[in-house]
């Protein structure tokens, strides 16, 4: 069935409303999301590459991702959603070391850092099972493809296992879709040739809904592993609306990373229910604390 953007919009709004209602009901109970996520399966692609187990989309009983009223997640499982993030330009050696220590302690999926810190993180996290996520073309996405690829290569050779790249937003805005797709595809190829995962940041706060959908489709066509909502440096962060819209656009099998402004356990759970399979957060410890006190 073909849906036009108006229909999609109204569907998304309706879903958002329903999810928010459910969440409101649940937040009044204290037992949200505690245990056994038997609806979760592992990501075959990550296992293929020898990467650590990554949770895949939560599905309801119709097999659709997201929108699930009774899924529960333990704190430990929640940690496997989180990219523990520190991207401030003035981050110091000591702060990055601490980030790694926390990631090891809580069992976060990755630490997400600027490329200049990848090597340090790789040293500190060797053998820990915590991955290293480097941003590329960050946060403006406005470097040319050759520079993004070079940056990707360097990050991977320094020890990055995942790359979060920003799309060429200006090209998307001027409907130069081939450039956007090729830019993503070149970075994806570089990643996959070296066994790394590629996430594609669309910076949703700068896009119309049509542009968000288009960006997701282009990322999917380019072979990316994840689409990601935001850099955290844009005019807005992740929203439930965007996550649901992106889930619809990419289908059930691609990863979605919600990032930017996710500061509480409740935010996190809402994003996962909306279809996110990865969470980028700098407030990860606060989120984990919330998960503990909820259980």
């Amino acid at each position: 069935m073909q849906l036009d953007s108006k229909t999609i919009d109204s569907l998304v709004e309706e879903i958002t409303r329903q999810v928010l209602t459910v969440l409101k009901e649940q937040s009044s109970r204290s037992d949200v999301f505690q245990q056994a996520t038997d609806t979760m399966s592992s990501c075959s692609r990550c296992e293929e590459r020898g990467a650590q187990h990554l949770p895949k989309t939560i599905r309801d009983d119709t097999g659709r991702p997201g929108v699930l009223s009774d899924a529960r997640i333990t704190a430990q499982e929640l940690a496997r959603y989180i990219d523990h993030t520190l991207l401030k330009p003035d981050a110091t050696y000591a702060q990055i070391s601490q980030l790694c220590e926390e990631a090891r302690q809580y069992g976060f999926v990755t630490v997400c850092v600027n490329p200049v810190h990848v090597r340090l993180c790789a040293q500190l996290l060797r053998g820990s099972g915590v991955g290293i996520c480097s941003v590329v073309g960050f946060p403006l996405g406005a470097t040319p493809t050759n520079v993004k690829c070079y940056e990707t290569q360097q990050a991977i050779s320094d020890g990055a296992t995942e790359i979060d790249m920003v799309i060429n937003i200006g090209a998307l805005k001027s409907k130069d879709y081939d450039s956007v797709r090729e830019d993503i595809a070149a970075v994806v190829r570089t990643c996959h040739n070296h066994g790394a995962i590629c996430k594609v940041i669309i910076e949703a706060a700068l896009l119309t809904d049509d542009e968000k959908i288009k960006a997701c489709q282009l990322a999917k066509e380019a072979g990316a592993d994840y689409v990601k909502t935001s850099t955290g440096f844009g005019p807005g962060g992740a929203t439930l609306h965007d996550v649901m819209l992106m889930r619809q656009a990419v289908g059930p099998d691609m990863g979605i990373k919600a990032a930017g402004g996710i500061r509480t356990y409740q935010d996190t759970v809402a994003m996962i229910k909306a279809g996110a399979t990865r969470i980028g957060a700098s407030a990860s410890l606060k989120i984990m604390e919330g998960a503990r006190s909820a259980s």
């Binding site: 991207l87 110091t92 070079y150 360097q154 200006g170």
Partner: protein, 226 residues
Amino acid sequence: MSRIASYIDHTLVRADATPEQIARLCREACEHRFAAVAVNEVHVHLAGRLLRGTGISVACAIGFPLGGTSTWVKWYEARSALRGGANELDVMIYLGALKDGRYDLVEHDLSAIVRLCRDYGARCKAILECALLTEDEKVRACQLAVAAGVDFVKTSTGYGPSGATVHDVTLLRRLAPPTVGVKAAGGIRTYADAIAMIEAGATRLGVSAQASLQILSEERLLLENP
């Protein structure tokens, strides 16, 4: 004839800037005789083509705005921009290393790019992002940039917690030798802002596209009705 236009880097470094907007930026720069257009690298080639032979520089942001890429990547990015037609580079310094007191890394990071600029006959501006620095760190950052051989020290990216202040411009002007320019950038929106920065010692102003046109029209009004 505007007296202030020749100070201004007519700037559009938003993530969502389109080629159409960059073309307009270049037209405006020609019309008003700004010192340069300042753009992201993805637009350097276009701006270079449109401004060839006009005497207006193309300034490209490097490692922007976080300075979070390694020296190798900045170097590669810089060379790519210079090959693409940039003749000025606005480079964000390695801020984390400065905070850690690893000053040799900060200087090395910059001097690699300064050497590259020399090879291409281009100028290099070091962005210090003053809003994230203590007074001591500002002094140190400025000294390191000067030692690395940059042509300008620049207050801010415009993406930090705040932009140029008269205080910072005065400080940088006092620290930098007369051969090194001072670029004030971030939050300069009015003619009064611009004049305050110039009086404090700025030799270049980074002003976003809309604001620079606004500043020129304020200047015109003042010149017509003194």
